[in-house]
């Protein structure tokens, strides 16, 4: 009667993006697992391409728009499109807004591809799916308590401080709301929304390293067991650019979520971390 079978399966189109498809595959795997356990069916967009990323945005607006728009043209109109990467989400939403205001470009792209571009469909982050449909599902599906896990919610820039400011949804506190419902405890006084350095991590690591160390040290000092982030690029930058002594692990939000929902294949995700998070996970298991 309280089994998750009581909940109807909900279908969503899903845009993984380049990071989740490759360097952050552990985030993708755990997300799929968590979604399945919650009764969310994430259907990957057929033949998706890169959202354009900051590089296309920087170099050519038409290119950036076209790349994001092609993904919109692959999304069926009857279900919402879900993204996990905050920047992908932002660029897809921006393109949609832009095409809605520019029917000429929209028509040009539609006739080129022979497919309609869905300018009214919802594009949402997985956290919105959870908050909107999943809080009671979470309670029913939770299998492992996160009690005793002290975490720093690390949003990264885009979800915490959305570009275009007031025109977008802010995600502040949603990480805490979800993880507290699963038993974890957020720790205050750490740098939860300081920028991770973005592409400067590739071009100018000497700028990024001190910033990353500062973020991790602040989490260490606040007594946290880990940082939990919703952004795959943040996770990567925090891992590869840290040089301090701290061994604080950096989890993807989806990993902690899937863990709490009872997923069993977490070894596969955690071996891909540069700082091994398993000691924290084992301590949690022992405490339970």
């Amino acid at each position: 009667m309280t089994s998750k079978e009581n909940y109807r399966q909900l279908d969503f189109s899903y845009f993984p993006g380049c990071s989740l498809a490759t360097s952050a595959a552990e985030s993708n795997l755990s997300l799929m697992e968590a979604a399945k356990l919650l009764g969310f069916h994430l259907i990957e967009l057929e033949d998706w391409n890169c959202c354009g990323s900051s590089s296309a945005q920087t170099m050519c607006r038409n290119l950036a728009l076209g790349m994001a728009a092609r993904n919109l043209s692959l999304a069926p109109a009857h279900r919402p499109l879900v993204a996990m990467c905050p920047r992908c989400l932002h660029y897809l939403r921006s393109a949609q807004r832009c095409l809605k205001q520019d029917p000429f470009t929209r028509a040009e792209l539609e006739s080129r591809w022979g497919r309609p571009i869905n300018v009214d469909g919802e594009i949402i982050h997985f956290m919105e799916v959870l908050v909107r449909h999943g809080l009671d599902r979470l309670r029913v599906a939770a299998r492992r308590s996160l009690k005793g896990l002290k975490f720093v919610p690390y949003y990264g820039c885009t979800l915490f401080r959305p570009p275009r400011l007031k025109q977008e949804k802010y995600f502040q506190e949603e990480l805490e709301n979800i993880l507290v419902a699963l038993g974890a405890t957020p720790v205050p006084n750490a740098l939860t929304y300081r920028c991770c350095g973005s592409f400067l991590s590739a071009t100018d690591p000497e700028i990024v390293t001190p910033l990353v160390n500062e973020i991790i040290d602040s989490a260490d000092r606040s007594g946290a067991d880990c940082l939990i982030t919703t952004c795959a690029m943040c996770q990567l930058n925090l891992e590869i650019r840290r040089t301090g002594k701290s061994r604080l692990p950096i989890f993807h939000f989806s990993e902690i979520l899937a863990l709490a929902l009872g997923a069993e294949d977490y070894e596969k995700w955690f071996v891909r971390h540069i700082v091994d998070p398993r000691p924290v996970v084992h301590r949690l298991a022992l405490a339970a």
Binding site: T58, M59, R70, P162, G197
Partner: protein, 196 residues
């Protein structure tokens, strides 16, 4: 010092308001969609910016350059390339100026106008990413990093990080590709030649 940097206009009597070309300030205001004239140099943007030490002008100084019409100095600054668009400045601004949007606009204008790039390694990186996107439709990080390092001549810099990522299988050896390669190729038609 600033005088020769001010833009030259025909004498005001010779033209009507409607046909007057937009000044630098007006162009930036229009393209960024933010009211840059409201800045009174409180410096909240510069104080909050995590990357300010790597910049030549602080964000508030870039705004001043635009207000004074100092096009070259603004479009050739390092600052506009170092900015990653984290929007700390925009959310700090008491006058609700979207400073990150101004940086976006200045970056685009500097590319469009073929200005010398204030921080060339960053534009090299963006171009390397675009080469990967053009070829595969998706970003192939290993290829991007190898291409970028080749360009910068620093093969050994960062080798430790690269190897650690490879060991953790965070860098895929082979790219994943979009099947409809023709659709991707068409999207790039607008790009390369207008940037170079």
């Amino acid at each position: 010092m600033g005088m020769q940097a001010l833009e030259k206009y025909p004498s005001p009597a010779a033209i009507t308001e409607a046909e007057r070309p937009l000044s630098f300030l007006e162009t930036v205001r229009e393209r960024s969609g933010t009211e840059i004239s409201r800045c009174y140099q409180c410096q909240a943007c510069g104080v909050g910016c995590p990357f300010v030490t790597a910049m030549d002008y602080r964000p508030n100084q870039v705004i001043r350059l635009v207000q004074f019409g100092m096009r070259q100095a603004a479009l050739q600054s390092k600052t506009i390339w170092v900015c990653v668009g984290c929007h700390t400045c925009s959310s700090n601004c008491p006058m609700d100026i979207d400073i990150a949007a101004i940086m976006d606009t200045l970056r685009l204008m500097s590319v469009e106008e073929g200005m010398p790039i204030g921080k060339p390694n960053i534009i090299d990186f963006h171009e390397e990413v675009l080469r990967s996107l053009e070829k595969y439709g998706r970003a192939h990080k290993l290829g991007i990093m190898l291409g970028y390092k080749k360009h910068q001549g620093g093969w050994l810099s960062d080798l430790d990080v690269g190897l650690r990522m490879l060991a953790k299988r965070k860098l895929e050896l082979f790219p994943s590709r979009v099947k409809a390669s023709q659709e991707i190729a068409e999207l790039f038609r607008c790009y390369w030649r207008n940037a170079s």
